[in-house]
């Protein structure tokens, strides 16, 4: 593989990792809110979370560009006050990836949360654990298989994220040209099929490694939760 391709691999891993790391916490919070609270705007929040899933990635990228671009309502103050620029940066690619995979994580986490026996939370309450305490010591560990599954899905999806990234963060080698963008570039080149296939295989290999690792962790987790 060429140096540029290696760079794309490293960048893909970097972007996928950052995106998962960044979206995990909000995803858990949103999942908890959606599962455990009943409030008027709940359905709307649920729908908003799913938005990136239902519109084409390119449109998501376009929306992000409108919001986070230096002329956008969020991007402008970010840029002016903090000098932060997301468009065309690796962080921007991670943001686009995170937004795209957010519904996937939330779904997984919710499923994990729904299966937490509320009797155990009740037991923790009677033992004096307040809301945050029992969430951290009981709910969170018990929902961790769902979180792990969500993170893995998001990581895998992050490795493959294309439309939103190319639209929002552009296709800049070394900064935003992730593996899927490189693959795309290859398919845009006459006779690039072989390169595309090779890069797709690399992408696949990365995902497989991630999955295997997750499988190992999941097995330990199940043992740990006494379900082994």
């Amino acid at each position: 593989m060429s140096a540029e391709e290696w760079q794309a691999v490293r960048l893909s891993l970097d972007v996928a990792t950052r995106s998962v790391a960044g979206s995990l916490l909000p995803a858990v919070a949103v999942a908890w809110v959606l599962t455990r609270l009943r409030f008027p705007g709940r359905a709307l929040l649920d729908a908003l979370v799913h938005l990136p899933l239902v519109v084409p990635p390119v449109v998501v990228g376009w929306g992000l560009l409108m919001l986070f671009g230096i002329r956008g309502p969020i991007g402008a103050p970010l840029h002016e006050w903090f000098g932060v620029r997301l468009v065309f940066t690796t962080d921007g690619a991670a943001l686009a990836t995170a937004v795209m995979s957010f519904p996937l994580i939330v779904r997984s986490v919710r499923l994990g949360l729904e299966n937490v026996d509320q009797g155990l939370e009740a037991a923790a309450r009677t033992l004096g654990a307040g809301p945050v305490d029992r969430f951290l010591t009981v709910t969170l560990p018990l929902m961790s298989p769902g979180i792990l599954a969500g993170a893995v899905t998001a990581f895998a999806a992050g490795l493959g994220e294309f439309g939103a990234v190319i639209t929002f963060a552009s296709n800049i080698p070394g900064q935003t040209q992730t593996l899927p963008l490189a693959i795309y570039a290859a398919t845009q080149t006459p006779g690039g099929e072989a390169t595309a296939a090779r890069l797709a295989l690399v992408s696949f290999g990365l995902a497989v490694s991630g999955l295997l690792l997750a499988e190992l962790i999941a097995r330990r987790m199940h043992l740990w939760l006494g379900r082994g």
Binding site: D117, R125, T126, A129, G130, D133, R227
Partner: protein, 376 residues
């Protein structure tokens, strides 16, 4: 003092609870009643895990719940230790971490039994590193018991905590619970089907049926009544308060108001105050003083009344030994044969071995230190 008054209905026309009762500031109040009568529901409401339609729960000066005034303390602020019917251990924590869960979160000034003492007494030392998933049913319940005890609660709620323990383990844990109660001076609400647990632990009884309180009172009073569902039980009988006079060669002599009893149970050193259940079925009567008989306790008593029995062919004799009432369950045929009638004097016969040592309650503080001692 725990005051409970609840009204709750499941669904539109489901099961309805409408119960109110009090439990003394220390000591055990047993909730007693058939399966499905609402015992677990009441415990849940007291713990704060169920919000009843209407109700008021007070613990000493603290109002835990008052729907009229919209007060409803969160469960985690009620400091009720709960032992659930299903153990509800945290599957992701080791047994030790489960045990320490409540301990860690207890207020620093709260007192209660120490970790080692509880572990030793429940016989769970070798389970400490294990996960709950790898425990047998009984082991699980023992750990749950320890976890609740260690959370240093102001109030203990126990839902058939010993149902899954074997007899030997039960016999071992029961006096521990009794001592805990005496040392901790907190009210305990205790759900059980077993009268021996009531004997060993309960000071008051709340009899429930279909969500309502049928009778409420001291164990002594309620067990001496022959008109309650309790009397139908084969192990019904009165509880008698006693004091140990002497202990010698495995035989203890107990004084009670109205006479003396000899028992092979080991009630503790002289001076210990305790409570013995004299089951009605274990008491026989004789019209002439028996001789050459192994039965150690032969008490002169007055036959006060002959109550209807709960089985055909049986009656309850209400006997007065001084101020103390005893019940004897004998056949109607014997009543006729011996020409028993209220007012006459008879001998009540009670074997020394029918006093299980767990039917006695240690009130004195002079407990010899030993395994399971509760440092407070």
């Amino acid at each position: 003092m725990l005051g409970v008054a609840l009204r709750h209905r499941f669904g539109r026309d489901g099961f309805t609870i409408d119960a109110s009762f009090k439990a003394p500031g220390d000591g055990v109040t047993a909730l007693f009643g058939p399966s499905g009568c609402g015992k677990s529901t009441i415990l849940a409401a007291v713990a704060g895990l169920l919000r009843p339609d209407e109700g008021r729960v007070t613990l000493d000066d603290a109002v835990l719940l008052d729907t009229a005034r919209r007060v409803c303390l969160a469960p985690e602020r009620r400091r009720c230790g709960v032992v659930f019917q299903e153990a509800r251990l945290f599957p992701h924590l080791s047994v030790e971490a489960n045990l320490r869960y409540g301990l860690k979160r207890a207020p620093h000034d709260a007192t209660g039994p120490g970790f080692e003492a509880v572990v030793a007494l429940l016989g769970i030392a070798q389970l400490l590193p294990r996960r709950p998933g790898r425990l047998s049913g009984g082991e699980r319940q023992r750990v749950a018991l320890g976890r609740a005890l260690l959370s240093r609660p102001r109030l203990l709620l126990m839902d058939e905590p010993l149902a899954a323990l074997d007899a030997a383990r039960r016999a071992e844990v029961l006096p521990f619970l009794a001592r805990l109660r005496d040392a901790a001076r907190i009210p305990i609400l205790y759900v059980t089907h077993a009268l021996d647990e009531v004997d060993a632990l309960a000071d008051r009884l709340v009899l429930l049926e279909a969500g309502r309180v049928v009778a409420e009172g001291s164990v002594e009073d309620l067990t001496a009544r022959t008109d309650l569902p309790l009397a139908a039980r084969r192990d019904a009988g009165v509880l008698v308060g006693c004091t140990v006079r002497s202990v010698q060669d495995g035989l203890a002599t107990l004084d009670f108001e109205g006479g003396t009893l000899v028992t092979t149970s080991r009630p503790g050193p002289p001076g210990t105050r305790l409570r013995a259940r004299l089951r009605a079925r274990d008491v026989a009567v004789a019209t002439e003083q028996p001789r050459g008989i192994s039965t150690q306790n032969i008490l002169p008593v007055t036959l006060v009344a002959i109550d209807e029995g709960t089985e055909a062919g049986e009656v309850f004799l209400r006997l007065a030994a001084g101020p103390t009432t005893l019940l004897a369950r004998i056949t109607r045929e014997s009543v006729a044969r011996l020409q028993l009638r209220p007012g006459i004097t008879v001998w009540a016969l009670v074997k020394a071995v029918t006093f299980d040592h767990r039917v006695v309650r240690q009130v004195a503080a002079h407990t010899p230190p030993g395994r399971g001692e509760i440092p407070t």
